[in-house]
């Protein structure tokens, strides 16, 4: 029944701090073989009888199909609410249930074109693995990492190993350029002649990555982060308005049709103030006086 997705009890074998984040490695047999960069895993939190019923979703940072422990999966977790705090407090040999790999991965270019990869905060987690896959295809890889502070950057050292150039920005100037990734992005795209810009991070950043890429004549592929209750496509909570090949906008599930979308297909105009409204021209949109 699995069709590439597995549900396994994952034993934690390593947990370490990485700046403001925790980097966790779980044993997850059968998951690594099918996983691709940009996909994610959904973890239960709090143990089998916990009152926190909903799964928490995390980008796959890395997988390794066979090691001393069998297949493993790595995630980078920012302790935010109850569930992520529980995860970051786990110790070696603790277990939690893992479902994955989920969602659609970053599409890879068929030609060896230069690429820019933009990560905001922990959003950089899936990009190093993506960088390796791109370089295997002969693509030059330029990484742009941004965060509020140095502690909220993830993977600057790792980035230097797997990318041709690394540009860093922080809001407070504690490392790299002071400012946002969108300040440096036009220059990086121009200097590298990039054809594709990959982005993962907060929605506001993905929107500006899309705008900058369009202005520079590059295609943006962005991994969105929407609130998810199930992660597997059954609850309809994780939707956002996306224009399809037929030009029509639909509210689509980011957990199965995403999390990666072409940036210019996402209806950024529908997002404001932490809410997303249904565009009036979307298929089945509520009409005045209707539902």
């Amino acid at each position: 029944m699995t069709a590439g997705v597995v549900q396994v009890n994952g034993e934690l074998i390593a947990t370490r701090r990485a700046g403001a984040y925790h980097h966790l490695t779980f044993v997850a047999p059968g998951l690594a073989e099918h996983a691709r960069p940009g996909q994610f895993v959904a973890l239960t939190v709090g143990g089998p009888t916990a009152a926190t019923l909903l799964r928490r979703c995390f980008s796959i940072h890395r997988v390794s199909p066979s090691g001393t422990y069998g297949g493993t999966v790595d995630v980078v977790v920012s302790a935010k609410g109850a569930g992520t705090q529980w995860l970051t407090a786990l110790r070696a040999h603790d277990e939690t249930d893992i479902v994955g790999p989920l969602g659609r991965p970053f599409p890879l270019p068929t030609e060896p074109v230069p690429c820019v990869l933009v990560g905001g905060g922990y959003g950089s987690a899936p990009l190093f693995w993506l960088a390796e896959a791109l370089r295997e295809r002969g693509c030059a890889v330029h990484l742009v990492l941004g965060a509020a502070t140095e502690a909220r950057l993830f993977g600057v050292v790792e980035g230097r190993r797997c990318a041709d150039t690394v540009t860093v920005t922080t809001d407070d100037g504690s490392l790299g350029h002071r400012g946002w990734v969108s300040d440096v992005l036009p220059g990086v795209i121009r200097d590298s002649g990039a054809a594709v810009v990959y982005g993962c991070g907060p929605m506001g950043m993905l929107r500006s990555v899309t705008e900058v890429a369009a202005a520079e004549g590059a295609v943006a592929q962005v991994a969105v982060e929407e609130s998810m209750a199930c992660g597997v496509g059954v609850c309809m909570t994780c939707v956002l308005p996306v224009r399809g090949n037929d030009g029509l906008t639909r509210m689509v599930r980011s957990c199965v049709e995403g999390p990666v979308f072409r940036g210019d297909r996402v209806r950024w105009d529908a997002f404001s103030d932490g809410l997303c409204r249904v565009p009036a021209d979307a298929v089945g949109a509520p009409r005045a006086g209707g539902h």
Binding site: A229, V232, C235, M236, C238, C276, V278, G284, H291
Partner: protein
């Protein structure tokens, strides 16, 4: 437990007859998904074989495609969640050609959940369902009357006995006699039994209880409602005692002769076999697993296996003997 005892436990469990009769539809298992908690099957089929369930319950479908509401659509709550999806769906025509046809192709028995903005739209949806090529996989229709009635200032059908009865009667006319219909009730009413009476009198062959409870969550950082729809439906283990109470009250009314005895499909907060047994003992002839599937996508099938073992441990040879058993055990 010794080896011998555990071996006996296993064979006894598998020997419990789990079949259930739901108003003429005889199903091999009482276990079902809950509408809106399993989409239309493809996603869940990766985690469990849909044929293992007594029936697969589809997401409520209406006449036209619907985008649903904006986001955020959910908030986690203690042992549950609040949702405000707004009945997103493809509309009945796309549903029957794509989703129902697929469910039929994998051999699922399907309980189709339908709704309308008006009673007439419910009937229209039922008629188009009946006319579809894949109709032979349908074992019943769940009439989701826990949704707003546009003709009555948006008052939920299931809060009004007249509107409930009218809707059920119109749907009943559109479907063959051998296809049982179940009215899905909300517990957010003063007198649940009177709504149940109206639905059964109008031709419902059974009742599904309960839909979500109306609730609300406020984001304390932004100091505004957390879901875009302001209020939402509360579900999950937190509401299980409400489901048990609702099933109990309606079953008791049936035993007292205040309404005809029809099967009840229990739903609300089931996460384990023990939870399911509570609903069964209160009077449920089948059990749906909703929110718990977000935690464990295999839950609808797993709960069935756990329920079977619990029945065996308690000496039941047939699932049907446990239905409503708690009513016989009060002083």
């Amino acid at each position: 437990m010794t080896m011998l005892e555990s071996a006996v436990g296993v064979s006894a469990a598998t020997s419990v007859d789990m079949s259930t009769d739901l108003g003429g539809a005889v199903l091999p298992s009482p276990m079902m998904t809950a509408s809106g908690c399993a989409a239309n099957g493809r996603e869940l089929h990766r985690f469990l074989d849909l044929r293992e369930l007594g029936a697969f319950v589809t997401k409520t479908v209406m006449a036209q495609p619907r985008s649903g509401r904006g986001t955020p659509r959910m908030a986690e709550t203690p042992s549950g969640m609040l949702n405000s999806i707004g009945l997103q769906g493809p509309g009945i025509d796309a549903f029957v050609t794509k989703d129902l046809a697929w469910l039929r192709s994998v051999g699922a028995r399907v309980l189709v959940s339908i709704a309308g903005n008006t009673s007439g739209e419910f009937a229209d949806v039922a008629a188009r369902l009946r006319a579809s090529d894949a109709f032979d996989c349908v074992v019943g229709v769940e009439v989701n009357i826990s949704c707003p009635n546009v003709a009555n200032r948006g008052l939920v059908f299931a809060c009004d006995p007249l509107a409930s009865g009218k809707t059920v009667a119109l749907v009943r006319e559109q479907l063959p006699r051998d296809i049982p219909i179940f009215a899905k009730l909300t517990p957010d009413v003063t007198d649940l039994v009177s709504i149940a009476q109206a639905a059964v009198k109008a031709g419902a062959d059974g009742l599904t209880m309960v839909n979500t409870l109306l609730g609300m969550v406020i984001d304390t950082d932004l100091l505004r409602p957390q879901v875009a729809g302001v209020t939402g439906g509360l579900s999950g283990p937190a509401i299980r005692p409400v489901a048990v109470r609702a099933i109990w009250q309606v079953r008791a009314a049936m035993l007292e002769g205040r309404l005809p005895r029809v099967p009840i499909i229990g739903v609300g907060g089931v996460r384990t076999g023990r939870d399911a047994l509570e609903l069964v003992a209160a009077g449920a002839s089948a059990v749906q697993v909703g929110t718990a599937a977000f935690n464990d996508p295999g839950a609808p099938a797993r709960v069935g296996r756990e329920l079977q073992s619990l029945l065996a441990e308690r000496g039941f040879a047939r699932f049907s003997d446990a239905v409503g058993v708690a009513h016989e055990r009060i002083a």
